[in-house]
Symmetry: C2
């Protein structure tokens, strides 16, 4: 079965590069977060708000993954973080070799925390280790409370779940308890934040966690 | 480069099965729609509302693609359509051989239109022909107006774009003109519907198009 063998080789090669990235960042005591979600759940806006709120407390370097356009990287740069754009030109996830190349473009000495914003995709990115210390899955209240059950791998392999757009709860059919219950059934260790990037609700708790995490705790 | 060769072989094999499906449906004068979107854009709800509204006018057979769970198929069946569930167990898109197997489970003689609900993913499903006559991409106002520019292949290869959740326009930063302009820049032939499955706004126009399409026009 050459298909399976080659797929395994590709994943094994990815795993090795991810391990190298992980060790090289650890040698600098730098931690990395891999942020994943559906398209439009609010990854970029969450990073914008986080960078703005932590200005003076924490310097973030951001690797922006997109299929096309550099619009997100421009937003992140405008928010005040050093940014590298990866355009995958059709590919549905980031791979470790892309991160290795992107890291070489960053001035790591000036950065306290590395953040990777993955391609908007709730399926494929879960399979690819990027050398990160932790995975954050962002979901939004407008996507429906059934997403953890329907895309379990992403929630099983993440350490943190952010439920964004809680300001829209009055206008959508989203059962927060059901979503959390389903997510915790898949992964009892998930750390969950409920927030709204639009109103700012819940952002302080999230930002405190980011700072604690960047300092090696959390 | 075995990786590329094998990927091409897989796509070529898919294309051949898709062609067989297409011809076999055409021989019955049956048309097929492939519905694609991000997770949570509202594909299943759109199909539920469409089935309910067209009761007595059009009998739909629905192939439900999900990574896990049969929750969507149960909703579609409750709405009144004959339904077959495909669970891909981790795979990020439907392939033609899955559709061929699913079609064999449907009583085609009782069906006027075949609808395939793809995996919630705005990237990978675009590459896989399922033998459909037309592709419908659903996006929602909560995902942001930049999705056509950021995921261009899906919009380039679709014939119809549905913008769902227009009832939430007052509460989100979504520029409808920008979204439509970007989508039409990628694909000037896109037929665009703006609607809300929650309030029913715009559903009549959409349902009229579905009926016209099923009858071989449109």
């Amino acid at each position: 079965m050459p298909k399976v063998t080659i797929a395994q080789n590709i994943l094994a090669a990815n795993e090795q590069i991810a391990q190298e990235i992980h060790c090289s960042l650890a040698a600098r005591s730098m931690r990395a977060i891999n942020v994943m979600s559906s398209p439009g759940a609010g990854k970029t806006t969450l990073l914008e708000r986080t960078i703005e709120r932590l200005r003076g407390r924490l310097v973030m370097g951001v690797i922006e993954g997109d299929v096309e356009t550099s619009a997100d990287a421009e937003r992140i740069e405008a928010a005040g973080a050093e940014t590298v754009q990866i355009n995958t030109r059709g590919a549905c996830h980031l791979e470790a070799h892309m991160i290795r190349d992107a890291i070489s473009e960053l001035e790591l000495a000036k950065i306290d925390l590395l953040v990777i914003e993955n391609i908007g995709n709730l399926v494929c990115p879960a399979a690819w280790d990027l050398g990160e210390d932790t995975r954050v899955v962002v979901m939004s209240t407008t996507e429906g409370d059934d997403k953890p059950a329907k895309y379990p791998q992403m929630f099983a392999l993440s350490q943190v779940m952010v439920v964004n757009k809680v300001d829209l709860l009055p206008y959508v059919d989203f059962d927060m308890q059901k979503a959390k219950r389903q997510a915790l059934a898949i992964n009892p260790h998930l750390h969950i934040f409920e927030l709204s990037c639009r109103t700012g609700e819940g952002l302080d708790n999230w930002c405190d966690w980011v700072v604690t995490f960047a300092r090696g705790a959390g």
